[in-house]
Amino acid sequence: MNAERLTRCALRQPALWLAALLAFLLAAAPFSTPLFALLFPEDPRPLYTRASFFALTLAHCELVAVSSLIAAIIGVGLAIFVTRDSGRDFRPLVSAVAAVGQTFPPVAVLALSVPLLGYGAAPALAALSLYAILPILEGAFTGLANVPSGVRDAAQGVGFAPGIMLLEIELPLALPFILAGLRSAVIINIGTAAIGSSVGALSLGSPILEGLSASNPAYVLQGGFLVALLAVTADRGFAALEAAVRPR
């Protein structure tokens, strides 16, 4: 009965269908040469084969996941800090720095981090993490600042220690806002991670960049389509997650 309802619920999730579609495409990619030969008849090698699309997607997801995690820890941590009594004075400074960080174009951050971190995944991770902090910080800050003062007062008054209050009251109440911030950060990062290939990180940007430099539109299409599908899947996934934590 309950399992049945759960299945029915799951079947209604677009995220699940999109993920299945993505898995199918990745599995079918090695056999898709005839299709792209049909679409791009002049192209002698119409399918990107330098790395498998599965490996590219995995590397892309890793970049996004690790950078979003780093950004989440820093962003939520900063939001917690500036909503404590001890950190209240730093609030303007933190939001100013975070806003400035966001005005840097990602390519510039990449270019600047290469001399420091060398080529590869490291500069890409640094740029992506930096980029994702602001939306997460904003979401978490809004969520924490929106905890009703009566709820805070009551929690303090009946004897919640500050740490317990943060874990049991404030963070759960801020969770929808934190998730919304995380959602924009992840979506932005899925797009931006493609640029990471320009500093040597493996990602779905690799076929796009090679396609652009070698005038091979088939590669651009392949990489671009998977990036877009990944972004839509993640977006629907977060939508489902947000619906699940939304108060009944």
């Binding site: 007062d153 004897g159 317990i164 109440l173």
Partner: protein
């Protein structure tokens, strides 16, 4: 039970509380009464160790609270506020059980205590699995009071808990508090700006003005001998004599039965105000007075009410 000794609190240039000394005995229902901004909440929050006094001492049960762990102190004291502050992401049941859980009580102990509190506060069991936003204001505050009582504290602090409620819910909860005070013998420190609420609940009233205690005493003391113009004004200058009628029971003014007794009867434990009301209602100037069993034991006339004299 609760002693304040020369307590003061300043917020920058604002004097919130100045030289307040109080002694709330165990079992008192002490009401802090005064206009908005006179420092009532600050006093209450200092007693709950949420604000540290700048001067003076607060002693609870013989112990200076400055020497106690404030978190432990708060878990041992009931606290209830106007905005209720139920935790919106928790069910009613979990809200009520908040403090016992913080105290690490066992599940069976929490369950047993929950049953007691739910019964004492007459909470509909159907509400327990619901979320606070599904409840009316009156129901929410009933849960707020239940949360304050859950760990069975000896002291209960309440900051204008019923000020935002409709008159019917407010009256119902006031009755609940009276009953609770009578049966539990707990010590209440209750903040309000509403003189009627204070008279209805208090065994002791502390009138505050601009951070200071203007007058402290029993409701009768304060009504009959307001110390200054401020207190007189705050009690409602024009209605003072009428309010006094609230404090006196008919049996204290009862006269022997005359030869032509009134056909309208009233219980001896009703107040003089109720007697006056009934006289006006029935267009009579005398009422027969009945005891608990309904036997007529005497009568009361308009003159007996007007003649006055101090209630004891």
């Amino acid at each position: 039970m609760i002693e304040l000794d020369g307590v003061a609190k300043f917020f920058g240039p604002t004097v919130a509380v100045e030289n307040v000394s109080l002694n709330v005995a165990a079992g008192d229902f002490c009401v802090l009464l005064g206009p908005s901004g006179c420092g009532k909440s600050t006093v209450l929050r200092m007693v709950n160790a949420m604000i540290a006094p700048d001067r003076g001492r607060i002693v609870i049960g013989g112990v200076d609270i400055a020497t106690l762990d404030p978190i432990k102190l708060r878990r041992g004291v009931g606290y209830c506020i106007q905005s209720v502050g139920l935790f919106p992401h928790w069910t009613v049941e979990r809200n009520i059980a908040a403090v016992p859980r913080l105290l690490g009580w066992s599940r069976p102990r929490i369950a047993a205590r929950m049953a007691e509190v739910v019964a004492a506060m007459q909470i509909d069991k159907a509400l327990l699995p619901r979320y606070p936003r599904e409840l009316s204001g009156g129901q929410q505050q009933r849960i707020g009071v239940a949360r304050a009582l859950a760990a069975d504290p000896d002291i209960i602090l309440m900051d204008e808990p019923f000020a935002a409620l409709d008159p019917i819910s407010r009256a119902a909860l006031q009755d609940e508090m009276r009953r609770l005070h009578e049966v539990s013998g707990k010590t209440f420190l209750f903040v309000t700006h509403d003189i009627n609420e204070a008279l209805r609940l208090a065994t002791r009233i502390v009138v505050m003005n601009k951070g200071r205690v203007a007058q402290a005493g029993t409701p009768a003391d304060i009504l009959m001998r307001p110390v200054d113009e401020f207190v007189r004004g705050f009690l409602g200058r024009d209605e003072l004599p009428l309010r006094l009628l609230d404090l006196v029971e008919i049996r204290d003014r009862i006269a022997p039965l005359s030869h032509r007794p009134s056909t309208t009867a009233i219980g001896g434990n009703a107040t003089l105000r109720a007697a006056l009301n009934m006289m006006l209602d029935h267009h009579v100037s005398r009422l027969a007075v009945a005891d608990e069993t309904g036997r007529i034991v005497g009568e009361i006339g308009l003159a007996d009410i007007v003649a006055g004299g101090a209630p004891q």
